[in-house]
Subunit: 225 residues, 2 copies
DNA sequence: ATTTTAATAATCCAAAGGGATTATTTGCCT
DNA sequence: AGGCAAATAATCCCTTTGGATTATTAAAAT
């Protein structure tokens, strides 16, 4: 089974070199190539499930939309994709932001071709996010320097009592949360946009709201997702 | 030049196996063996400079004085020594405490003999603290789960992690999250609905989305509120 | 067997939302 | 003093939503 990879880098030479490295390894296939974050998200939207990458190798500094923003948006809208930073930058600010945005790993470009492919392969085998040693070290130092500190996790009894939504309605609510329009919901579920709309209005009725935003608010606040 | 190593572990079999592994590698010599933290500090006091270890491989759970306390005290009194945790424990609490105490690295005992000696050798060569991949992964997750958070280093420096929203825009995003329409936002902030709308569209621009639902999705997922 | 519920779908209408553009004012930075 | 970013506001245009209503079908409950 080939690992599907997306490559996002503003320099075409970088993209092509990386592509060659990965293809030569034999376990990877490239399904998306993009030259910046905007281009990447654009291309991801028009991708069918089969082509959805397993991994997105993301450069950080890019025009239009940088890597951190692309990871934040991408990891939110495509949660199955593992976003791995691949960059020359190793300053703490960028590392922290990228991780916070949802990066699953952080690799430095001065890593050898073998190391990069190996670490990605390891990630696929073990499910463990790849980190260049220098980055791991930086993170340790951030903790030691009190730049990072432990936050007591708010122990919350997470009870999800639904507002008597039917299964179909919960399914559609989830798509609302994901930001789809009636049309898109229709396509996704193979029903007409009109029917999708009818469901949504029924949901509003049950939740006693009258807009998407309010429905999402409730859904998030009350843990209906 | 041989790397001088201290081994601190309460089980003598562990100590001896580890010692053999390191000696077999050829680049290491063992200058201290101790069976707990207290024993370790005791022996370190009565050591001349020549014998001072470069690295201390420290188990965590030990009688009398555990590894965390030993690292805290040891890294304070012997700052030239790199303390590396070597343990079977990988729970977040222990990881965090050990790092906080001054651990320079954190290795898991299920790592192969070659990996451990290699990583210690790497550490000596590059000055970078060794981390088992599983530990690195745990730390990433801690950051992502908001269990670790960036401490405001310069007081007041308002953290805008990504998307660079202005204060006004964050304020308006919050109102979007609360389900208000342009009109309502206008009334609430004493501005025209048109201006509210302009702000919202600017927010969409920065978040790279094009609907309320998508904006809320990002806001919730990435904690922009 | 019949009633009820859920899912499907369509149509009409008014309101709100999204996008592009242009313009003015304010305060901050150099 | 001049330049620049942010907040304010309006207008035009088109799409999407939200709401109400009606209708058909399949499945579940009574």
């Amino acid at each position: 089974m080939l690992i599907k990879v997306a490559i996002i880098d503003d320099k075409s030479s970088n993209r092509n070199i990386l592509k060659d490295k990965l293809l030569r390894h034999g376990h990877f296939t490239i399904t998306v190539m993009a030259e910046d974050g905007r281009d990447f998200l654009e291309k991801m939207k028009n991708l069918d499930e089969k082509q959805l990458p397993d991994v997105a190798l993301m450069d950080l500094e890019m025009p239009n939309m940088d890597g951190v923003d692309a990871i934040a948006a991408g990891s939110s809208f495509f949660p199955s994709v593992k976003f791995v930073v691949l960059t020359i930058f190793d300053d703490e600010e960028k590392i922290f932001k990228a991780i916070k945005a949802g990066a699953f790993g952080y690799l430095l470009k001065d890593e050898s071709a073998e190391n990069i492919t190996d670490m990605l392969w390891q990630m696929h085998e073990s499910g463990v996010g790849p980190l260049s040693p220098g980055i791991a070290h930086k993170i340790l130092q951030m903790v030691q320097n009190n730049e990072l500190t432990l936050v007591p996790k708010a122990a919350g009894a997470n009870q999800k009592l639904f507002f008597d939504l039917t299964e179909r309605e919960r399914e559609i609510l989830q798509l609302l949360v994901d930001g789809l329009s009636y049309k898109e919901i229709g396509v996704r579920l193979s029903i007409s946009a009109n029917t999708a709309k009818k469901h949504v209005i029924n949901i509003y009725d049950k939740l006693h709201v009258n807009s998407r935003a309010q429905a999402l608010h409730l859904a998030y606040e009350k843990g209906l997702l």
